[in-house]
């Protein structure tokens, strides 16, 4: 598990750099480094499916951020009291850590998942006629899950196309 810990430290460092650095391009690249490390983490945890998807999505979002949005002049607000911001951050962080401590105590140990639902998948999937268990889970038990995922993406696409359309924007002279 030493690789996972190293990757987590790398990701936290990348996220901190992305937040603190002044240059926007460096910030975007640091976010990309965090995503690539997450992809490596999926690969180490033996989920090549997710690793592939994370890698591809990371590259795509990096291209979109650099090509389409970074050249615009983004106003950067530094107003607000320093003491209020810092104290609010500390309070929320303490609250989150306290809740997470009690919530994570009830979870099973890392690597020993509860097999309540998964056991039913394994015993019932041969009766469905799928080629293997992964196909049975992905296309039979969790087809509604995939539908929800596609619905989220479809809604996002419609929203972006509605906001970023050409018609309806004022022409500046």
């Amino acid at each position: 598990m030493i690789e996972i810990n190293l990757l987590l430290i790398f990701m936290i460092a990348g996220a901190l750099i992305a937040v603190r650095v002044k240059d926007l391009l460096s910030s975007v690249i640091a976010v990309g480094a965090v995503g690539i490390a997450l992809s490596l983490g999926f690969l180490i945890l033996k989920a090549p499916d997710l690793a592939m998807m994370q890698l591809v999505v990371e590259i795509l979002s990096l291209i979109i951020l650099i090509r389409a949005t970074i050249r615009k002049d983004i106003p950067f607000s530094m107003s607000g009291g320093w003491t209020f911001n810092t104290s609010a951050t500390i309070v929320f962080l303490a609250l989150f850590l306290a809740v997470a401590f009690f919530a994570l105590k009830g979870m099973p140990v890392f690597g020993n998942a509860l097999m309540r639902v998964s056991g039913a998948y394994i015993t019932q999937s041969p009766a469905l006629g799928a080629k293997n268990i992964v196909a049975a889970i992905m296309l039979n038990f969790r087809a509604l899950d995939t539908l929800g995922e596609a619905t989220v993406l479809f809604t996002a696409i419609v929203g972006v196309l509605a906001v970023a359309r050409k018609i309806g924007h004022k022409k500046e002279s």
Binding site: P48, D49, A51, M52, M53, V56, V57, I59, L60, I63, I64, R67, A68, T69, R71, K72, A130, K131, N132, V134, A135, M138, L139, N140, A143, L144, T146, L147, E149, A150, L153, F154, A156, I157, V160, L161, A164, R165, K166
Partner: protein, 135 residues
């Protein structure tokens, strides 16, 4: 050479793009179609397909890419594949479906994801003002 050909990146990038973009598209479709047997699936395949079109757009400029894949085609294919997907999943409740789910669900998801992400990229590029000033 027409003026459209002169936009975009250098000659090396254009030549390599011409050679590789077909293979990238083919790989995206392969990843989507064999998602139930090997790592992959409709979402990953769709993002690879979107990256292939974005590749063309970055190398040749937006006119060439949009001539190859019109905005109307994008919208119609996203809508049709979303409706087919909805029909398949809802038909599961009554226990019958006229489609082969192992092929159609990943293809529909690939169409939604791929064309949708390319549409988002196109919209954001067309929206940004600095690109218009540069050309």
């Amino acid at each position: 050479m027409s003026p459209i050909q002169e936009k975009g990146m250098s000659l090396i990038v254009k030549t390599v793009t011409k050679l590789t973009v077909g293979f990238i598209l083919l790989y995206g479709v392969y990843v989507a179609l064999t998602g139930h047997l090997s790592p992959g699936g409709g979402f990953a395949g769709g993002v690879i397909v979107a990256l292939a079109f974005i590749h063309v757009m970055l190398a040749f400029g937006k006119e060439v890419a949009l001539r190859r894949l019109r905005s109307q085609t994008l919208r119609v294919s996203i809508g049709v594949s979303a409706l087919i997907f909805l029909y398949i999943v809802m038909a599961g409740f009554s226990g019958r479906s006229i489609f082969n789910c192992e092929i159609t669900i990943p293809i529909c998801e690939m169409a939604i994801v791929g064309f949708g992400l390319f549409a988002i990229f196109t919209a954001l590029v067309l929206l940004s003002k600095t690109d218009k000033d540069a050309e």
